[in-house]
């Protein structure tokens, strides 16, 4: 797996307010990047932008040295995204949910769903309807995709929310494994994360200065 992701001078706005500005960063194969910042700094906005769900106000996002808006189809094939919300349907069983989430990226996988269920410790709940799960268990259903996806870029918005200690350790191990194989992980988390070679990008440092604020409005 050879991957490279870079932000070139991007800035993002919300309701005409600049959140951050002139953000440039380069992630090579094997990068594990944690985006940090206070509540409302724009972490989620940045993650959405780099997935192509939003357009940046200025600047470009390059994947394999190519702007992501040029060949979105190719980019999507190498992307796995998980946001604040948990895309899990209460009325389907755990297995069914995992199946359809996986079907959105129809690529062969080396792990079976059974195996993924074991990894996230939900084997006993395989046929339980998801609205009967606890908060953390629902989250685990979505996280099981990390064991099934073939994507090389993982973008995770607070993946550790609601997950217990053992689960967090397991998850951290999986992220480490992915980067060791050459993948890239971009995540946000307010919890202290124990991961090796973790790079950190502090959004607070890219806030527009006061003059820029005034110039812009």
């Amino acid at each position: 797996m050879l991957a490279s992701l870079s932000f070139n001078n991007i800035s993002c706005e919300r309701d005409e307010r600049i959140l951050f500005n002139n953000l440039s960063y380069e992630c090579k194969s094997g990068t594990l990047l944690q985006v940090v910042g206070f509540n409302g700094a724009g972490k989620t906005t940045l993650l959405h932008t780099l997935c192509g769900l939003r357009q940046p106000a200025t600047g470009q996002i390059l994947w394999q040295a190519q702007d992501i808006s040029l060949n979105p189809q190719l980019f999507k094939q190498s992307l796995f995204f998980l946001g604040h919300q948990t895309p899990v349907k209460g009325h389907l069983t755990v297995t069914e949910n995992i199946q359809w989430l996986r079907s959105l990226h129809p690529a062969p996988s080396y792990t079976s769903i059974q195996q993924a269920l074991i990894e996230v410790d939900l084997l006993a709940y395989a046929d339980t309807h998801c609205h009967q799960l606890s908060a953390g268990q629902r989250r685990r259903v979505a996280l099981s995709q990390l064991y099934l996806t073939q994507a090389s870029l993982w973008v995770l918005d607070e993946p550790f929310t609601s997950i217990d200690k053992a689960g967090v350790a397991k998850l951290a191990q999986r992220l480490q494994q992915h980067t060791e194989r050459g993948g890239i992980v971009v995540l946000t988390s307010h919890q202290p994360v124990e991961l090796e070679h973790l790079q950190s990008l502090d959004l607070s440092r890219y806030q527009p200065s006061l003059e820029e604020h005034i110039a812009h409005g």
Binding site: H48, C51, G52, L53, R54, Q55, Q73, K76, Q77, L79, F81, G83, H84, Q85, T86, P87, V88, K89, H91, L92, E96, Q99, W100, L101, R102, S103, L104, H105, P106, A107, P108, S109, Y110, T111, S112, I113, Q115, H129
Partner: protein, 229 residues
């Protein structure tokens, strides 16, 4: 670990997921039909039971109620997907969004429009619809409900991020429904009057063909607009 698991092809899986979801919500399959049933049943109670009067208003009422029944649960089509983040997953899927949309609409129609259509002749009987109208009712409702679903899905996509989406959708969609309603009910009326309804049927089928081509990309665009803010 060694074995390689083929994932089901994506869009087909959405359809099967949607069918499964719909099956899980079994009430939803039954419900537009029941709404239709109750709506039509209440009619004689409200306007009186004169057979002649009922027969006169039957074509129009059967169509109006079919339209309202189709509309009723449509606003939830993308709502849950939006709220639980599935919509973002759809957008980031390697499948083209309009295909996913098309399958969702198809699943909805199979579970609402189709049973409703099959139901209609029986309800026509209750309203003493003259015998000539049954085929017209069945044949026009078939493409008609499909158009209504496609157009309604656009409304649902445009209002998915709005809290009070359901009724906003009604407002923006109703004017778009009118031609279908007019053509459909006049087809049944003219069949009852002994004239043919070929022209109306041809119009509805043409309309469906256009909607099938135009709507999925429009809906996909609307979904992108709704989520990308």
């Amino acid at each position: 670990m060694a074995e390689l698991n083929e994932a089901n092809t994506g869009a087909g899986a959405i359809l099967s997921r949607d069918m499964r979801l719909i099956w899980r919500h079994r009430s939803d399959i039954v419900n537009p039909v029941i709404f239709y049933l109750i709506g039509i049943t209440m009619l004689p109670l409200a306007i009186g039971t004169s057979k002649q009067l009922l027969g006169t208003v039957a074509p129009g009422m059967l169509w109006i109620m079919a339209m309202l029944a189709t509309l009723l649960s449509l606003d939830a089509l993308f709502r849950t997907d939006f709220e639980d983040g599935s919509l973002a997953q759809f957008q980031l899927s390697s499948q083209p969004l309009y295909l996913i949309v098309l399958y969702k609409v198809l699943a909805y129609w199979l579970s609402t429009g189709l049973p409703l259509t099959l139901m209609a002749p029986m309800l026509g009987l209750m309203l003493s619809l003259p015998a000539d109208g049954y085929w017209a009712l069945l044949l026009t409702l078939l493409p008609g409900t499909a158009i209504l679903t496609l157009v309604g899905a656009l409304g649902a996509a445009l209002t998915v991020c709005l809290r009070s989406g359901g009724l906003v959708m009604t407002l923006i969609i109703m004017p778009l429904y009118l031609p279908v309603l007019i053509i459909g009910s006049s087809a049944v009326s003219s069949a009852v009057a002994g004239f043919g309804f070929d022209r109306e049927l041809a119009l509805l089928i043409a309309g469906l063909a256009i909607a099938l081509i135009v709507m999925p990309p429009a809906i996909a665009g609307a979904l992108k607009i709704s989520t990308n803010q």
